[in-house]
Symmetry: none
DNA sequence: CATGAATGAGGTTTCATTCAT
DNA sequence: GATGAATGAAACCTCATTCAT
């Protein structure tokens, strides 16, 4: 029983190491199997192909992250938060969300770094864009509210472009923290400044000028 | 003599196409040569190896870009610009610089996209980080002035971290525009909003709070 | 399973033939595989690289030879043989040893010829020198005794030079016999004269003059 | 005029260096031309092919050596020297000849080392055997005289074999000295012992026993 | 004398994948 | 579950040589 999943485990462990070292494309299945002390045939029993092996490494963490982001940034769950001050409520909420996301990110730091920077050649090579897309709708609606638009249909192409950028930037903040901070704790500390930066950007954008 | 530089030209053209299609790593020299109607041996007469062929495609544009950035963002040339308003003078200057950089970027759009997104495996795979590094000093000094510090040595690790992020973000703005805009004209139009966003971010960061 | 080790065998057989025909360097792996009716990939399943394939041909015989030489010429096992006549006992022993070595040499004649004369480019290209080195110590001690020196430290650079030459010459005798005799039997017959020649050389050298 | 042979000179110089470094086979014409600052086409104006380029390096010295050996070891020029002692006169003469040959060898040491050890793949790969063959006849006649045979036809196959070996050994002495001595002077000093060794071998062989 | 371009065959090695056992 | 063998294509690169100019 215990041996049952042991081989598979060893395989994914070695795969992870190899993918991190060399990136998806340059990673060698042979090498992975050799390090795992397993024949390539055995590997193909567990995994359909290279892609699936890669997925076995990053799939779980990716799903977790998607769900976490989804639960916080899905447009459906957006509430008309009562804004306590000048700041739009949603942005305040976002800060809390971001903290949770950071926790997740650092829980599987290696896997996410793999996904973000070493997945070229796999089906995840555009994962960052997908993350951006997944929060875009949320920010679109927030922007809409802050602008005082009555409907999403009032948004111009220019509006949408800037919202897309801001979505991208939000994701980039996460990546930057994951990439440049050693610990979750440090990331959360630095997050404050970056969030502050982002909010400043939002306000400037809404007002069409940076200065109050 | 008859063909003069025709063969070499054909080779770089086909190389460019292949690199764009498949990325540096997956690009096949054989394929490139076949498309150029040339033997691999001929290719190796002109180019030492795959890397050099790649360089022949992106090298020129890269140099141009580095010089453009260098001339606008070098810390030495920073003047104590007389600020006309609340905005620090340097940021205003940066806007003009950004416009010029955009012009360059769109002049060799394909090559820059190649460098930014498809250079994994080549010596340029970290080119974005290098760009960030190349403007970091400039922003460090600007931040210093805006903060009212007397010396760079007054900067904390936290200060540096946030400046590094802002440098990164500046580069990202360029990449975003290059990636998402069809024409230079459109990019320059969208730039305004994004620059506004960035300046808002800077001010928030300096003041340690987003709202005036 | 059906073929068991048939493929590998075929591969080494064809490799041996090719190496003998063209020498290590000019031997073509493609050609070997073609003759063996096997893809190059298959070859690389059994052998890490060209070197290892070569080793699979000469490695076994080489080891055998080294052990045979080692057991007869190791300085540790040298006994103070009671000389029955004027001839130093060790040289008499050496003759018996030489016979055994000849037996080994002719057992894998092809392989040894390969090693001796066609290994340029492989890690065995200096194998002859290594053989010389491996018996040098033995002859150094014998020379020491015959000279009546009390210690190896009494040997001059000139002494050492001549001993080195004689070691080289001993190896050369083996190579000459292997190269120029068709059978082990013939070699053993010719060996007598050559050994006689060598002993005469030794005595002349010890006495510093050839004439009694 | 001076420039005339300058290119050719440079070419042979660089060729020599490359051949010494890598051996005939691994030497790269491209590399040679590059180092000589000349195009391959130019090289092919002076030399028909790789072989001829190699010949331009070793040809001269080789001819000189062949003539030197020829003039000393040619059977025609052998005189019935009056032996002053027990030693056959010819061997005494050989010693003088050997000294002259050593002088020649050290005059073009590099070239001869090239010929002896790095010519595999060229037409000179068997040069050592050719040297042996070129002195064989001489030694055959000397052996004949020393044995007291009336005609060469009295020689058995066994006689011939041992003479061939002794011819080989004579050549080997030269090679050993060239390989292991730094200067001509040192070689000539060491030569004495080696010649002594050889003469002892000859006498033993003639008498069919090493001890007087 | 020499260039610069081009050939074409060949080199060794690596890869993801398959499949009978 | 797992092995070991094999495939076949493709990878990058180097070579000696040729030839029009």
């Amino acid at each position: 029983m215990r041996d049952d999943k042991q081989t598979k485990k060893k395989l994914t462990d070695c795969a992870k190491k190899e993918f991190i070292e060399k990136g998806y494309m340059k990673a060698s299945l042979r090498n992975i199997c050799k390090n795992a002390g397993v024949t390539t045939g055995a590997m193909y029993f567990f995994f359909k192909d290279k892609e699936e092996l890669f997925e076995s490494v990053v799939g779980g963490p990716l799903l977790l992250l998607e769900q976490t982001i989804g639960s916080h940034f899905s447009s459906e769950q957006d509430q008309m938060a009562e804004s306590s001050g000048i700041l739009p409520g949603n942005l305040e909420d976002d800060y809390a969300s971001a903290m949770e996301i950071l926790s997740v990110l650092f829980r599987y730091k290696e896997e996410y770094l793999l996904l973000i920077g070493k997945a070229q050649g796999s089906r995840y090579e555009d994962i960052v864009d997908r993350f951006v897309a997944s929060i875009y709708q949320h920010y679109l609606e927030m922007y809409c509210k802050m602008k005082g638009y009555s409907s999403l249909r009032n948004m111009t192409a220019e509006d949408k472009f800037v919202v897309h950028w801001m979505s991208h930037d939000q994701i980039d903040i996460f990546i930057h923290l994951l990439t440049h901070c050693k610990s979750e704790k440090e990331a959360k500390k630095q997050m404050k400044n970056m969030f502050n930066y982002m909010v400043g950007g939002w306000i400037s954008t809404i007002r069409k000028q940076p200065i109050p």
